[in-house]
Subunit: 364 residues, 2 copies
Amino acid sequence: MAKEHQDVIERICGEAREVYQRISKKQKPQMRLPLRALSNVKYKPDPGYFQLSGKSKVRTLTVGNRKTFAQTLKMLAMSKDLIHTKRHSTKREAYYQAYNWGQAAFAAQEESDTVMDDVEAMLATNREQLNFRADEHGGEVAGELVVIDKDRRTGKRLEIDCARFGSGAYSVPTVVEDLAFRTAAKFILAVETKGMFERLVEEDFYDKHHCILVSMGGVPSRACRRFIRRLADEKRLPVYVFTDGDPYGYFNIYRTLKVGSGNAAHLNEYFCVPQARYLGVTPDDITEYKLPTHPLKDVDRKRAMDAMKNDPFIKHHKPWQAAITKMLAMGVRVEQQALAKHGLEYVAREYLPRKLKQTDKFLP
Amino acid sequence: MAKEHQDVIERICGEAREVYQRISKKQKPQMRLPLRALSNVKYKPDPGYFQLSGKSKVRTLTVGNRKTFAQTLKMLAMSKDLIHTKRHSTKREAYYQAYNWGQAAFAAQEESDTVMDDVEAMLATNREQLNFRADEHGGEVAGELVVIDKDRRTGKRLEIDCARFGSGAYSVPTVVEDLAFRTAAKFILAVETKGMFERLVEEDFYDKHHCILVSMGGVPSRACRRFIRRLADEKRLPVYVFTDGDPYGYFNIYRTLKVGSGNAAHLNEYFCVPQARYLGVTPDDITEYKLPTHPLKDVDRKRAMDAMKNDPFIKHHKPWQAAITKMLAMGVRVEQQALAKHGLEYVAREYLPRKLKQTDKFLP
């Protein structure tokens, strides 16, 4: 068994032992959980993601919480079983498996999701390490990267060459904890849309610039963020992000990828990508590249003002404040495909190469 | 150039020639387009998809339609260029490329999308064959299949073995027209969720049952449907569909995959999968496998009643009417993950193998 798995099993058994010992001594069993709320979150540029401030609550067994208490222990046991049988369970499957827990069965999936969040926070880990997984798209990859996985049937090492998918791509699984990587690439380029991803594949971009292309498909899923993070950490690669130039691209996609989100602060440690830098499309690009734009919608304007006022990440970074202020003054947003005005190949032959010569000018 | 591409180029040039000849004779140029509306749709079990009835309209150049007329001709020229340069353009990119058409530029992307639909219908083809593509997820594949693509750089044949991706998968590109296949699989199993797809991969299902797994990720995209259709046609494989047992799974996913949809009738010929059969989860399964259920929502009930009354596909197939009637009488829906109540491996070891012994009992 891998070291990480042994470590998780050890933590699960540790929790169980404490509960057992208190019961043996005729004391009420208890569990300690970090407080998961925005009021318990802090932001510092280093390490670069939202963190829990350390407040925690102790859950002692009472008549009122006996069901949740039992469910939490059963969920820990389920995780231990999963790791031993080398299986993963989606949140939905976990909910249905718990149908057989008698009085401790969940009334609805929201209940089991909450208990799973508790277990994650309690063990200071992410649910993927507990062999739970989300039912979501993990993003797509093409470029100078060999992903090293295992053949489940033989246990043999499996090398997946992401430069040999033709017009297709490697689809990232929902759990990436056990993947390893081999690459000589110089950077990772994470793009918002599958359309732009396929454009760059078609233009042989990753060949010419020795990089790894990742299609996030909108707001990156946990799996996609974790994949980029692990790859960037292990191979010491810079990560450049290429989205539409609008509040959705800036905050929902880029900010989430880089520093995480407020309401999942206990997880940002695993899922943020602090090395990410914003390549474009910026408000400055609109004038520099004479790009067609669309007027900002009310919702865009509102989101931008709100971020200027309340988002600790934006408040910390002056260049971002300048960019948002410029966007609001211009009153327009710009799509990454707008570069096609200058021809389909322009983005790969002109725009990106020019940008990549001045990576220090990327937004933080 | 491939034969299909030559054929499309020939049709584009044919249209252009007609317009040119009429102008040379000082006649007003015109184009003939099939009427794209539900009133021009018919359904027959053979060939098994919604078809256009043949009504068409002639668009003659007038002062009022001069812009649309010009845009349609420019769009035909763009397609010809794309085929010659071996590039593909998303709908969004096409809209931006048209920024340089002077007075014929589009005011909004909806306009250019409509002209693209016109061009598709006029040439009796699908936009993928015109080298246009949607910006959408194409589905994921794992199993006993080798996809044959080309290396864009060398032009050499590329073999992609979908049984060698470990926990990952092959991500289907948005344009699949030029892919070829090699397989000894016995059937294709198309599943609704990525969660169930990964479950079956983890249980070695495709090895044990010699099949190809496709994750549709909800309602299958055009690329996903076209991929399944081409693979099933060329390799003469049956297609079994495994979704949640609710109106969304029955109609939005299964019915769309099998016969297409009413408002895109000129395309169903390419995107439907008439050989698809519905494996489950059915209302009968709820009692037979003692599955946990959820009450039907009002929107479920409404959609089901509407389909019984108005959907020509459901009206044609008695077994479907019986299933829907049973669902409405029971008042419940069931998720495919509900089988996890009997253990994570149950779906792969018990449910599917039992079902696959009686494929004649699948819903049509």
